[in-house]
């Protein structure tokens, strides 16, 4: 790797030079080892203890896990994450790709439109939560406004409906991130070799075929980045749910992030909270690790 060891015994300076890259990387590795993996093991340990308000070290075996699976809200939370996560990732990718393709048609004022699509990413739901809540509220929001325009039978009361409320969370979440995904795909589109496209066009390929056969496959790295960002947002969707529905109506929009928080901090059931965090992490790992592995391995 180093070009400096041209024979002779490497001195201290040379060895330092060889080790330098690793030295530079090591603080990050150490930090992550402690503050991510160390904490994961700590949580794993807590999940087997009788911790309530603060960590406590009385061993209780699998009891927290047994209790966790008896709690109905946990089922709801997991089901909701599956619904929310898959819809959110799919819709964001589809919408992001569509908008990127549309914006790539030599649009006038592209920069302006792009900024409009992108800005929601800048705002947290602490900021936009109330506006969203109002907008979705049938009494004062979209339903009332459209009815006011004369379309009396218009209904949009999902946020009040236990079966539909989770979809309103998807709407708001897509609003926040789809522009960001659009930017990623747009960047991907701009990076594609236009010579290849011209050649294909001369061969008489249709526009649709061009996109399907040549453009979209080349966006694969963009998909990877988008997936990592979206998966991370989906799993951490705490502010969003709290701001929009606070888990309601009833427990209809509980997600693992809110469940974990509520058991660890508001319910003083740190042991059960830790158990739910462990299950969550294992699930994330089961999805993310194979994906990262396949993506990263290919590069070699």
């Amino acid at each position: 790797m180093s070009m400096t060891d041209m024979g002779g015994r490497p001195g201290f300076a040379d060895r330092l030079r060889d080790a330098l890259p690793k030295l530079v990387l090591s603080p990050s590795v150490a930090i992550v080892a402690i503050f991510v993996y160390g904490f994961i093991f700590f949580t794993l340990y807590l999940s087997f203890t009788d911790s309530r308000i603060l960590p406590s070290f009385g061993w209780v075996g699998w009891q927290n896990y047994e209790n966790l699976f008896r709690i109905r809200a946990w089922d709801t939370a997991v089901t909701n994450l599956i619904i929310f996560g898959s819809l959110y990732i799919i819709i964001c990718c589809a919408l992001g790709l569509l908008l990127a393709i549309l914006l790539d048609q030599k649009i006038r004022a592209e920069g302006f439109i792009r900024t409009i699509y992108l800005y929601p990413m800048a705002l947290s739901f602490i900021v936009t939560g109330v506006a969203w809540k109002w907008f979705l509220d049938p009494g004062i929001g979209l339903e009332a406004v459209v009815q006011g325009w004369g379309w009396e039978s218009f209904e949009f009361n999902w946020i009040k409906d236990g079966d539909m409320a989770i979809y309103t969370i998807v709407i708001a979440a897509v609003w926040q991130t789809s522009g960001f995904v659009m930017a990623m795909f747009l960047a991907g589109l701009r990076g594609i070799d236009s010579e290849m496209l011209k050649a294909a066009q001369i061969d008489g390929a249709s526009t649709l075929a061009l996109y399907r056969r040549i453009v979209i496959p080349q966006l694969r790295p963009a998909f990877m980045s988008a997936f990592v960002v979206l998966a991370h947002m989906a799993i951490k969707s705490y502010d969003l749910v709290i701001a929009l529905t606070n888990g309601g109506p009833g427990t209809a929009t509980e997600v693992p992030a809110t469940f974990m928080y509520s058991y660890t901090f508001t319910r003083n059931q740190m042991g059960i909270g830790a158990a739910s965090a462990v299950i969550m992490l294992m699930t994330i790992a089961a999805i993310i690790v194979p994906y990262l592995w396949s993506e990263l391995r290919e590069k070699k």
Binding site: S2, P21, V24, L25, S28, V29, V32, F35, V36, G38, F42, P55, L99, I101, L103, D104, Q105, I107, E110, I113, R114, Y117, Y119, A122, L123, S124, I126, V127, T128, V130, A131, F135, I140, G179, A183, L186, A187, L189, R190, G191, S194, L197, A200, T207, L210, V215, H232, Y238, D239, A257, M260, T264, A277, M280, L281, A285, I288, V289, L292, L296
Partner: protein
């Protein structure tokens, strides 16, 4: 930027004379784009409009309507006189608290991410890809999980309730993404240049400083935007690891908006919310034009 457009139909359009039949899809295209603009702007519209109304107009209903009586009083109130705690200070003092914490946190995590990305791509060693994977997985740790052990470590190191402590926390949990961005960017950077510089005798930091860094502008923008947004908007860490005199903007905004009893001054809440979001909005608007370029040059390539 427009010249780099890759879209096939535009290429086709160049070969044909423009005609009415070509104009129709353009109209549809623009209509669709504008409709999406409305979707993205709606919540902001609701916030801006209602922050400019007197409270009675809001309670009387009609959240989409423009104000009958325009007023900027809610903005003044949110900035300097709204009740945040015992003192009616408005959001003003907290603004500085946030800046003092966000700027070093963003700067440090960007520098660290750049160095990590440099090592992981240009000085790759056995197992470096695995290490990268491990760093990246750190992005997925739920923050609720780290609160208590983190508090303990901050306490043991004497950083509890201090600005450096809070900066450190954000640095720790920003490593994953900042490394991801820079690694993917530098992976596309021609390694030959690095090798050539090595033959010329340039050292590790010289190469980084002279060769990599000067062309890192776009990805640095991406990384800064990402970190700035996340750290500025964070509530949980900001509330838990700050002291009475270093609470960030989000905590103050939360205190303004979430007050448990008493009349909710929605117009002031909206004004405060927009105010709290202005720095991040500004970053997006100002740096947004470099954003796609940065992504293009880096993070979406292999």
């Amino acid at each position: 930027m427009a010249n780099t457009s890759t879209n096939p139909s535009a290429a086709v359009g160049r070969t044909k004379a423009s005609s009415l039949s070509a104009a129709v899809p353009r109209i549809i295209l623009y209509t669709v784009l504008v409709l999406f603009c409305i979707y993205y702007l709606l919540p902001l519209y609701v916030m801006v409009v209602n922050s400019l109304k007197p409270l009675e107009e809001i309670t009387a209903g009609g959240m989409m309507a423009l104000p009958n009586e325009w007023t900027i009083a809610p903005w003044g109130s949110a900035w300097s006189t709204a009740q945040i705690g015992v003192d009616a200070t408005g959001l003003r003092p907290y603004f500085v608290n946030s800046l003092v914490m966000v700027i070093p946190a963003v700067a440090l995590s960007t520098i660290l991410g750049a160095l990590n990305g440099y090592v992981l791509t240009k000085w790759a060693f056995r197992g470096s890809t695995l290490l990268f994977g491990l760093l990246l997985f750190g992005c997925f740790i739920p923050f609720q999980m780290v609160l208590i052990p983190m508090a303990r470590i901050l306490g043991l190191t004497g950083l509890a309730g201090s600005v450096p402590g809070l900066v450190f926390v954000h640095l720790v949990y920003g490593i994953g993404f900042s490394t991801l961005y820079f690694r993917n960017y530098y992976a596309a950077f021609p390694t030959e240049l690095v090798r050539a510089a090595q033959i010329d005798g340039a050292g590790f930091f010289t190469i980084f400083w002279r060769i990599l860094l000067p062309s890192s502008g776009p990805i640095a923008v991406v990384c800064i935007i990402w970190q700035f947004t996340n750290i500025w908007n964070d509530f949980l860490f900001g509330a838990s690891f700050s002291d009475f005199d270093s609470q960030p903007m989000t905590v103050a905004l939360n205190n303004l908006v979430q007050s448990s009893t008493g009349v909710k001054e929605y117009n002031v809440h909206f004004a405060g919310a927009i105010m709290a979001a202005l720095p991040t909005l500004l970053v997006y608007i100002v740096a947004g034009r470099y954003f796609v370029r940065g992504l293009m040059a880096g993070s979406v390539k292999g």
